[in-house]
């Protein structure tokens, strides 16, 4: 007897006690879940639910066990069971808040990323948009909400000036993000679109994390650790560059040097501007990535640039007289960020960036020096359980210094030193996968005006079925007065804006439709009578902008063709700077339209891109006329094309031509300060530097792995 007992203990397989476990699995909405995994923890025993959500399995296990029910997208359920006995259970699984499937706030925001399919733009779009010549701002200017202001190349968003769009790289502020350019010619964004894996272009209502931006935030996220070793060489009509990425086990380093010189091009293609020395620039970029522990990532990015040119500018009053303008600019930006996951719920993001820009302009042997320095420090803590609620809060500090030297005896010094401290907090509340509410608050203190500013942010989004969603956003925004003015009067406060946005978006397959209406109210805008008279400055300016934007993108209807259409309507007026009255500013046109196409011709291995841009007439002020900003320029038209030919898997030949039709666009007029013999102020049209810009380049990638730039369907 004793032996038998011993045998039974030692050979449990001899004693077979079977239990049957059965039941159903449904969602919390009561629908059956097929394919759910039902099993006893730590054993092989279990099964999958059938089409009706039913399950049934048997087990020979005994004692206390855990019965687990799991299915993708639902919270796992566990119950304790004691075996052997036949059991029947009905499980109701709760849907997990899945941030990938869940509703996203789309009001005011266009994002471009590699991963998610819901991104409106892909990083490659920036490079392949005709007319943009691989300039980030150029590509974003084909999106609604922007204004075509061809003489600056900057992003003018919804009645806001170019300076009201701020650029952030990995959350850190970048000052002077455009390379210098000759007066009334477009400047390019300093940063290569190839550096970034994600771009978010917000035309209003953005998160409390982003401050010091009145109209728009351009949020650029740099690439993570490089996983492939490669060398790239570009040979262009305007210069050359070489870059290399090397990846190591836990880190990667990338560097790029670029030299551009427009002399040969300007020799060939006549320019309306008389250059003694065409723009020449040296540019260096460095990116270092290091993985710390399991989840930590350190990113260091540095950019330096030196640009100079010399032009002769005819005076307006007498075109025979020319001013010699000699400009040289040195620029450096260093950006370091560190992010880490502290625990299941907590994560940390910190960063530090510095910008230093020194520009010297010599006008007819009279030197002027402008220096801009800035430092930005930031830390953000996030609490996220990947469920209904997430919270992030943090603090940041901006230091800015700007100096303008006239270099004349007894001339006043124009400079300022500003410290801005700020704290912000924001919570996302998911009421379901279909409804999210985001509420945030931001507080700032400016050392110069000694003012505290508290700005609220609020947005919500509601998914209407699988494809449509409606979002609302509201927020107050502020931005330090422009350096040019703050230097003269150190007491100026922040300019302020209030945004109201209503957005509807419909996504289906590779088609996107968006329509967004907005109202924007400006207050505390800087006003002055004389830009160099401190006493004439005030914050008494104000304004408004209202309108709507429509966007349609379709990469589905026509095989091989991807196109998008943007239309923006805007009605805006403001009383700011030296305006004598409230008027529509010169940069604003009522109607803006873009039509962008990209078509891949398989037989030619060539992508052909076209962009047509239209901007209706813009106001300008003719001092010979009664009233202010009452005159209108002709409308703006531009048709640009580009070709990317895949010569080899690692060689791309690229050609682009802007303004193919050679339209002689007029951006506005400038007038002389003095009157001529007839008592008239002399006017001169502001036009494009040349009717067309032609670009040719070869881009070569060298890599151990023969990387295809475009792959056919497998």
């Amino acid at each position: 007897m004793k032996t038998l007992l011993t045998l039974l203990i030692l050979f449990p397989s001899l004693a077979l006690a079977q239990s049957t476990i059965s039941g159903t699995v449904t969602s919390d909405k009561g629908e059956p879940i097929p394919g759910a995994n039902v099993f006893l923890d730590g054993t092989y025993d279990g099964t999958s639910t059938d089409i009706n959500g039913q399950f049934n399995f048997s087990t020979e296990e005994e004692g206390n066990h855990k019965l687990i029910v799991a299915f993708i997208g639902y919270t796992k359920e566990t119950i304790a069971v004691t075996l052997p006995q036949n059991l029947s259970y009905n499980f109701s699984l709760k849907e997990e808040i899945n941030r990938l499937d869940a509703v996203v706030i789309s009001a005011g925001s266009f994002s471009a990323g590699e991963e998610s399919n819901r991104e409106v733009l892909k990083p490659l779009d920036i490079v392949t948009t005709a007319g943009a010549t691989a300039d980030i701002a150029g590509a974003l200017n084909t999106l609604p909400g922007t204004q075509t202001v061809g003489e600056t190349g900057r992003l003018f968003v919804r009645g806001g000036e170019g300076y009201e769009t701020r650029t952030f790289i990995d959350g850190m502020e970048v000052l002077n993000s455009y390379a210098p350019s000759a007066p009334n010619t477009p400047g390019r964004a300093r940063f290569s679109p190839f550096m970034f894996s994600g771009t978010s272009f917000s035309t209003g209502g953005y998160s409390a994390e982003y401050g010091q931006a009145l109209s728009s935030a351009l949020i650029l996220n740099t690439k993570e650790i490089a996983e492939v070793d490669r060398t790239d060489i570009s040979l262009m009509t305007v210069g050359a560059d070489i870059s290399h990425s090397q990846s190591f086990e836990k880190s990667s380093i990338s560097g790029k040097i670029q030299y551009t010189n427009l002399t040969p091009y300007f020799e060939l293609v006549k320019q309306k501007i008389n250059f003694e020395k065409a723009p020449e620039s040296f540019d260096g970029n460095m990116a270092y990535r290091h993985k710390v522990g399991d989840d930590g990532l350190l990113k260091v990015y540095g950019n330096f640039n030196k640009t100079d040119f010399v032009i002769y500018r005819p005076q307006i009053f007498d075109e025979e007289l020319e001013d010699k303008v000699d400009l040289s600019n040195s620029y450096g930006h260093l950006n370091t960020t560190y992010k880490d996951i502290l625990s299941d719920q907590w994560s940390l993001k910190t960063g530090f960036s510095i910008t230093n820009s020194e520009e010297s302009i010599v006008i007819n042997n009279q030197p002027y020096d402008e220096k801009t320095r800035g430092a930005h420090t930031k830390a953000v803590l996030s609490y996220d359980t990947q469920s209904q609620f997430s919270l992030s809060f943090g603090g940041e500090h901006f230091y800015r210094n700007s100096q303008f030297d006239v270099n004349q005896e007894g001339a006043p010094e124009f400079s300022y030193n500003q410290h801005i401290g700020s704290a912000f907090a924001e919570a996302d509340i998911y009421l379901s996968n279909d409804f999210v509410l985001r509420t945030g608050l931001r507080a700032e203190h400016e050392s110069l005006s000694k003012k505290y500013i508290v700005t609220p942010r609020l947005s919500l989004a509601h998914k209407l079925g699988e494809k449509g969603q409606v979002s609302l956003a509201y927020g107050k925004f502020n931005q330090q007065a422009q350096p040019d003015y703050l230097r003269v009067n150190n007491n100026l406060q922040s300019e302020k804006a209030e945004h109201y946005i209503l957005n509807y978006q419909y996504l289906t397959g590779k088609r996107t439709f968006r329509i967004e209406g907005y109202y924007k109210k400006y207050s505390d805008l800087v006003k002055f009578q004389d830009a160099y008279d401190q006493a004439s400055f005030s914050n008494l300016g104000s304004g408004f902008a209202k309108g709507f934007d429509v966007f349609w993108r379709d990469a589905q209807t026509f095989t091989g063709l991807d196109y998008w259409v943007s239309y923006s309507y805007i009605d805006t007026e403001r009383d700011y700077q030296d305006f004598p009255t409230t008027a529509t500013p010169a940069f604003s046109s009522k109607h803006n339209f873009s039509f962008v196409t990209k078509y891949f011709v398989q037989s030619l291995k060539t992508q052909i891109g076209t962009t047509y841009s239209f901007g209706s007439s813009r106001p300008y002020n003719d001092p010979n006329q009664e009233g202010f900003n009452t005159e209108r320029t002709p409308a703006y038209h531009d048709l640009s094309v580009n070709f990317s030919y895949l010569y080899r898997s690692n060689v791309i030949i690229h050609a682009s031509i802007t303004n193919v039709l050679g339209v002689d666009n007029i951006f506005g007029y400038e007038y002389s300060d003095q009157q001529n013999d007839q008592g008239q102020f002399v006017g001169r049209a502001i036009k494009q530097q040349a009717p067309r810009f032609i670009f040719l380049g070869a881009f070569i990638t060298l890599s151990k792995n023969k990387v295809a730039n475009q792959m056919p369907n497998l």
Partner: protein, 218 residues
Amino acid sequence: MHKLILIPLFALAVLQWSFTEVSKYEKAMKSSIEKVYMAKNIEEYQNAINSFERIAQKETDKWEPLYYSAFGYVMISTRVEELGEKDKYLDLAKEKISEASALAPGEDEIVALEGFVHMMRVAADPATRGQQYSGLAMQALNKAVAMDGENPRALYLLGQMEFGTAQFFGSDTAMACEKLQKAVSLFQTQQPESVIAPMWGARQAEAAAQRCGAPAGE
């Protein structure tokens, strides 16, 4: 006397225990592997994956169940239409591969499967993803071939990638075809190391090699 009997009994018990455990693992794996190879639709793939997940949560030191779960998810990704859905399953596959390679970092089959996942990302949206993911796919597949030059799956996938690239650019497909043909002959001759070793790919490799036409010299 009692004690003397107990010793061999105990030894026998241990033997039986370890024997049943091993065979139970292999048995469960074998039947699940059959399920995943035979699966005809998403439901059947999900059921097979569920079996592997049950095995994986018990056998926390084995890479194979994770490997096959990942394989199942890749297969599901080819059967869903929408890009976001494809990505969801490829993300799940990638998750399983990461877990598997943490257990067996030197396993070339896992690296080859990772290359396959990257390939499927390219296939999902070639125009926008080609540049990023084809590089990653080539890198992983080359690594797998470097780890084991006789891995027919790695050779087939690498050959497939090279073939597509060469054909697209109108360049010579000889190198790609050499790999595909080597993969086909390895599929025919190679004996699996164990009953649970990966065996998929022979049919696909043959189909791919057929596109090469008659081998050079014939």
